[in-house]
Symmetry: C2
Subunit: 358 residues, 2 copies
């Protein structure tokens, strides 16, 4: 069962919940807007569903709302940010501001973060940079995470390590945003397949013996093999070394430069974050750049298409379509997620919003 909520109602409610949990007003707003936007864009796994976990970590003292974001290493085009174990969207949003400011001064900049909690949807920081008229490269690793095999390997070694590229598009409302797990898919797609009782395509997972499987339960050790299996890097049996290489590059940029740690051991943060801003206008007039983006977009969208395909979508387009629909029709949440969120809010003395009649 699903309920439907207007996004502004949900944002206002979450701001009050995070305020009650001890977040300053500006931080509560950053987190609430980050989560609701993830839902609006269809990335429900990075949306409101995270709230109960975030609140538990605040209650346990693991997450420290209000902690300042400190720059511990700096040069004109780089900074290492120590997040004080604040909520990830707060730290990463501030780190992104620093990257933009430095890029404005020198042409480009790279900012990395440690001591930060779950950073959320990486594409959000790309969009923040694009709003400043800049291009972005970024990603996060998850220190200590084990979900994805090496190319040729038979067991879990690293996280799904998303990599992000974002560019100003032909209009301010249509940025190019590629936000991709370097595994063949994010883990969420396996959960969905398990819940549907569906199989998954070949070359997505191995079972607990390192053998190919199309039963998504084999990833969790709940299929015919009781040992948990592993996700594979993007690229398949021939080109999976590419996804594997990109996955390791995110370890190096997100985990090593930041000081957050790698898949081997992760002492300093839930995510190691890297965010790069490139000031397009230093290279070429922004209008010339966006004109070229429009031209390239039209070029790649030209038919013919593959059998069964009716159009080519650019990175960011599927999310925008979902957002337009959800802004109009409301944001769907499953009953269980909403119930848990409301309970967590009530425990902080925040009453649930009145749902509009459906």
């Amino acid at each position: 069962m699903t309920i439907t909520l207007p996004a502004p109602l949900l944002t206002d409610y979450l701001v009050r919940v995070y305020r009650a949990a001890g977040c300053p007003e500006d931080e509560a707003r950053i987190v609430a807007e980050h989560l609701v936007e993830a839902n609006l864009k269809g990335h429900d796994s990075h949306g409101v569903i995270r709230t109960t976990g975030y609140l538990t970590q605040i209650r346990n003292g693991v997450t420290k709302p209000g902690a300042p974001t400190r720059v511990v290493e700096a040069a004109p085009s780089m900074a290492v940010v120590e997040g004080g174990w604040n909520l990830g969207p707060v730290v990463a949003t501030r780190a992104t501001e620093i990257a933009i400011e430095k890029a404005r001064a020198t042409g480009m900049a790279l900012v990395v973060c440690h001591n930060t909690m779950h950073a959320g949807r990486v594409g959000a920081y790309g969009e923040q940079i694009v709003r400043a008229g800049m291009a972005a490269i970024g990603g996060v690793n998850t220190p200590g995470a084990r979900l994805v095999a090496a190319f040729g390997g038979g067991h879990r070694r690293t996280g799904t390590n998303p990599l992000m590229f974002a560019f100003p598009g032909d209009t301010p409302e249509t940025p190019f945003v590629l936000d991709m797990a370097t595994s063949v898919v994010a883990e969420g797609k396996l959960k969905v397949a398990v819940n549907k009782g569906a199989s998954v395509p070949e070359a997505w997972i191995l079972d607990g013996d390192g053998k190919p499987s199309t039963d998504p339960r084999d990833f969790y050790g709940s299929g015919s093999n009781a040992q948990p299996g592993t996700l594979l890097p993007v690229g398949g049996p021939y080109s999976g070394y590419k996804g594997f290489g990109l996955n390791l590059a995110v370890e190096a940029l997100g985990g090593m430069l930041s000081g957050a740690g790698t898949a081997v051991e992760g002492p300093r943060g839930t995510n190691g974050v890297f965010i790069m801003a490139i000031d397009v206008a230093r290279f070429t007039p922004l209008a010339a750049f966006t004109g070229l983006m429009a031209g390239l977009g039209a070029h790649v969208k030209e038919p013919p298409y593959q059998p069964g395909v009716t159009e080519v979508l650019l990175p960011g387009e599927p999310e925008r379509r979902t957002m337009v629909q959800r802004l109009r029709e409301g944001l769907p949440l499953d009953d269980e997620t909403w119930k848990q969120t409301v309970e967590a809010g009530a425990a902080l003395g925040v009453a649930a919003p009145e749902l509009p009649a459906s």
Copy 2:
């Protein structure tokens, strides 16, 4: 038939050939070493075989040896380089030097190039940056190129747009170098399959009607379908949007920021080049970084492996193994490539080297 040449003999010979073609001594050496190193690393398609084409372009006045590399836009962490239509390895090597110098001053830098000829093996510039103790991101697009389909598209739209990440490894001799076409494979693998009469795996190419094919001749229009087909982006039928997105990101960084042009039209260069240098030591001590690289490498190499796999290789390792072997045993060149190279050299008055007795 194949001949075998010691690498130093071949390098010396090529230096004399490029000198005779009008290149200053330092430029001749850059190009000769770039090409021989590509052969040593097993990337024969980017090696000595390019010489006859490069010489033809010099003779026709398209390529201008000795042309200065001019910085036409600059800020502390960026530069736009105008290559004067010099040989690509010359322009890109100089652009890489600029990126390193700027990164040393500010923490990181991005340099892009237009008016440059074929840039060669992108990994070479990553290795140049790694030798300076830095990390690298780079790539090249090919303005006007049409080889790869959009995700879901049925015809050729963009080049194979290689993307490169390089990091200092656990020793100076073992850098991490990922140098990957954003298509499922580079075009050269299709040529090899055609020459062998072999089929290619599913999801590599489409035929001229945009339908899946496993006959590599269909890419060239020499199979059952006379229309040329297309390469697919890396990622396969489910995740090909990732390869497509990376391919477009290389268009934006390599073609648009540089001013070289995109796949739509390419007025200013054979390749649009982007090269980023990141001064690791500004973020964390270099020895700490390389220690983490060693730890991560050991971690991902741990067994078990997939059925039929005996080890996990890191990006750059296959190339190093080939290089060790070819430095020891000599560099294999097919008769035809060698014959054409020698003829082109003789036309410039440069005698072929005496081959060692085999």
